[in-house]
């Protein structure tokens, strides 16, 4: 049991890891062990494989300065590798956004069996922003024109993207001066690949600045579009209660786990499992009903909009199957471990891939098409039901633990929440910060990583922050971690929050940690911060705000992109393990120090989540001082 306790802070996870051990089924933690020690060149980012003169590896212990065969310095190599990671992350988020636009366009044209415009108010706000004529036009006509405008954000070749214009004026001016306002999502990602090809950019600063531009095209582009149009298509989230952790799996219902990121299919599956036809079929097969649960970010999408329970975060995906109670796991894209097919083969669980971008050998593939989404969803649900009788009764082990949570906060509904529905405003939030009831805001986001005790980084950091009156907003696997620890309940404020933050939470009835969505929904945090600036009294630029960001258990390239767009937006961002840049002193200095003078934000690497929280708190205090704010109300 000892090793399992070292691997996760979550009891349910420990329980399932013990089962994995008994069944001799390896998990990510075991595979990490078999990878140790990991390659030092890789960890330091000093291996270049970008051409066939190489691979070139710079010896970090060489007294003489080494360069690659082409002459690339270690700084060039590290910077190139780093921005390629940004491009990978930006591509993933943005391609997700592109798929949402596609579904949105089909909905507008009436060419799908599943989608419609569910939030007309938000649609009209977007239409106004994009100069799409509203008066006298049908909703569908507006939506169709708007979809073209959004597609153009990806394909624009020159000028400036429209989405980043939402940033505070001063921020936008700075980006323009630095020449990093993104032109088009695809353009910046392609240019990253071009610049890093053998024999192109070898000024590490110039390379990194383009990295920022690419990351901005994600945060203030692809991701933001994904969030906005998901709200329009699937409705804007409202605070909602649900349950979280593997205990949400049911012993006597058909369990379907949707895992991945894009809501296009998962949201339709919600409708399908609620159809009387499917429920009746499930009963005919001996089940009491159908239990749909989510995993990773697609889980957050359908949690925020429909209150669908959360089965777990990234490192719990294999464990869900290990319960033996999952009749079907449907996956789309991103963070889907290729290991799943192996785990599933040890049980009756049917694994189904749905995206043409993600198939797996020997795994059933049911290709998702937005035109026939409902049909496809029903087909998959039927597959799950038909697999229910194949369950092996003895081989089932469902942990009994799940926690209550509240999710569904957005940059828009914070207006109502804090200001009241009749005078929707950010004023109370700004005032709370100005008067020192709340110290500041922190975004804690990102993945799980078996190198860091599962959920420990997220939970300990969040607790330390709220204890010190920092209102925390969370997304993705971080949000799920906190939910599993019961931190997304209003009662958590009484238990863990400092006095000032507790007063606010009690007055408004919110948890001290606000779940604002999936990883593309980090864009909601950017918008919320912009709204705080617009409300006034806390400076003119995002970098003036008493705020900080963190990804204590990051692992994905997407986190590299997110962290980069946050520092490029002026926000200090703490990472639980260092980016693969430490092989170059100059690149490290640039991103962890000099960047603050250029874009207002920088990276800090700190593995201890409590120490990391202290760094964030010190930074918030520094910003409070610069704004000449009152001292905290309760010290």
């Amino acid at each position: 049991m000892d090793k399992t306790k070292e691997r996760s802070i979550d009891k349910t996870t420990q329980d399932m890891l013990q089962r994995a051990k008994e069944l001799n089924i390896p998990t990510a933690w075991d595979r990490l062990e078999s990878m140790l020690p990991q390659c030092g060149f890789g960890k330091l980012g000093i291996c270049c494989r970008n051409c066939e003169m190489g691979p070139c590896k710079i010896n970090p212990f060489s007294e003489k300065e080494q360069t690659g065969i082409c002459g690339a310095s270690v700084d060039t190599i590290v910077a190139r590798n780093f921005i390629r990671m940004i491009a990978g992350g930006a591509a993933a988020h943005s391609d997700h956004g592109r798929d949402i636009i596609h579904a949105f366009m089909l909905a507008a044209k009436g060419k799908t069996d599943a989608y419609g415009i569910k939030d007309e108010t938000k649609l009209k706000v977007l239409a106004r922003e994009y100069n799409v004529k509203i008066d006298g036009r049908e909703i569908n006509e507006i939506a169709e024109e708007l979809s073209e405008k959004f597609f153009l954000e990806f394909g624009r070749q020159h000028g400036e993207m429209k989405v980043p214009q939402r940033a505070p004026e001063k921020r936008l001016k700075l980006w323009r001066e630095l020449g990093i306002v993104p032109r088009g999502v695809d353009r910046e990602i392609v240019e990253t690949m071009h610049r890093t090809v053998m024999g192109v950019d070898n000024d590490y600063k110039n390379i990194l600045m383009h990295g920022f531009r690419t990351a901005l095209a994600d945060g203030w582009g692809g991701s933001m579009i994904a969030t906005d149009l998901s709200d329009v298509l699937f409705k804007s989230p409202e605070p909602i209660t649900a349950k979280s952790n593997l205990g949400v799996l049911s012993p006597d219902e058909v369990n379907i786990v949707v895992h991945g990121h894009e809501p296009t299919l998962s949201d339709v599956v919600v409708d399908a499992v609620r159809s009387p036809e499917m429920i009746e079929l499930a009963k005919k097969k001996g089940a009491k009903g159908i239990n749909l649960v989510g995993m990773c970010c697609t889980s957050s999408e359908i949690l925020m909009r429909h209150g669908i329970p959360v089965a777990g975060n990234f490192l719990q995906q294999e464990l869900a199957i290990l319960t033996g109670a999952v009749d079907l796991m449907m996956v789309d894209v991103q963070c889907i471990m290729p290991a799943l097919s192996g785990v599933a083969s040890a049980f009756h669980t049917k694994l189904v891939t749905t995206s043409p971008k993600n198939k797996a050998p020997g795994v059933t593939h049911v290709e998702f098409k937005a035109e026939k989404a409902y049909d496809i969803a029903k087909g998959i649900v039927k597959m799950a039901i038909e697999n229910f009788p194949n369950r092996n009764g003895n081989g089932i082990h469902i942990p009994d633990k799940s926690e209550d949570l509240v999710a569904g906060f957005t940059a828009e509904n914070i207006y109502n929440f804090l200001g009241g529905a009749y005078r929707a405003t950010y004023r109370p939030l700004n005032d709370a910060i100005i008067q020192g009831r709340i110290r500041g805001l922190a975004g804690v986001v990102g993945c799980n990583n078996p190198k860091i005790k599962h959920n420990y980084g997220h939970i300990e950091m969040a607790k330390e922050l709220i204890k010190n009156d920092v209102l925390v907003v969370v997304t993705g696997c971080s949000a799920i971690a906190d939910s599993e620890a019961g931190l997304l309940q209003p009662e958590a404020a009484v238990k863990y929050a400092g006095k000032g933050l507790r007063e606010i939470c009690e007055a408004v009835g919110i948890p001290p940690i606000l779940h604002v969505g999936s990883c593309v929904d980090n864009s909601r945090i950017l918008i919320a911060l912009t709204n705080v600036i617009r409300e006034g009294g806390l400076g003119e630029d995002l970098s003036d705000l008493p705020v900080a960001g963190a990804a204590p258990e990051w692992m994905s390239e997407k986190a590299v992109s997110i962290a980069s767009y946050f520092i490029a937006s002026g926000v200090l961002t703490v990472l639980g393990s260092p980016f693969q840049i430490l092989g170059s002193r100059k690149v490290t200095d640039f991103l962890c120090s000099e960047a603050e003078d250029i874009v207002g934000g920088k990276f800090v690497f700190e593995g201890d989540p409590v120490k990391a929280a202290r760094i964030m708190i010190d930074h918030i205090d520094k910003k409070r001082k610069a704004l000449k704010l009152k001292p905290l109300m309760y010290r």
């Binding site: 390659c39 030092g40 212990f61 002193r585």
Partner: protein, 170 residues
């Protein structure tokens, strides 16, 4: 006594052993800190290239009759009578480089002293305070082995590959 052996067929030239050795020799014992130590830690193992791009790692063979001991004017290098390891007392080294010149394998290297006021000769001590030498532990393909000579010989005789070369003492 256990020694480090090399299975030539398995070395991919990743240099992982060199990194692991240098980190082991650093004061911090941590990669991220070791790379900015002054002086930089020196790896006692080096990956060499052979014929058409093949590679193999090489460190002190702990010879039966070490030339380096004969050559050492300071009496810094000695052979441990029990373990047979050839060990260097870095405090006694005067930096005359006779050992470097006489070593037929070229595995004695030069390191700056911590105060940077001089240089001394350094060599592999088979990570005496570890169960398994850092280089062997770091080797991903199993090219580096830490075992008794008899074990290695039986391993070689079982293997059909004629490039399996016993690379150890003598």
């Amino acid at each position: 006594m256990k020694r480090v052996f090399v299975n030539l067929d398995k070395c991919l030239g990743c240099n992982g052993c060199m990194i692991a050795c240098a980190v082991e020799q650093s004061s911090a014992g941590d990669l991220f800190k070791a790379i900015s130590e002054m002086p930089l830690p020196v790896s006692r193992i080096e990956v060499k290239t052979v014929d058409e791009g093949g590679s193999f790692p090489l460190q002190c063979r702990h010879c039966e009759e070490p030339y380096c001991i004969d050559a050492c004017i300071a009496g810094a290098i000695r052979k441990d009578p029990e373990t047979g390891l050839v060990l260097s007392d870095e405090e006694k080294c005067v930096g005359c480089w006779m050992c470097v010149m006489t070593c037929p394998f070229g595995v004695i290297r030069v390191s700056l002293l911590p105060d940077k006021k001089g240089k001394i000769a350094v060599k592999c001590d088979l990570c005496q305070d570890r169960k398994i030498p850092a280089c062997v532990e770091a080797c991903h393909t199993g090219a580096l082995l830490f075992c008794e000579v008899e074990q290695f010989i039986s391993l070689v005789s079982k293997s059909k590959g004629d490039r399996d070369v016993l690379l150890n003492s003598r």
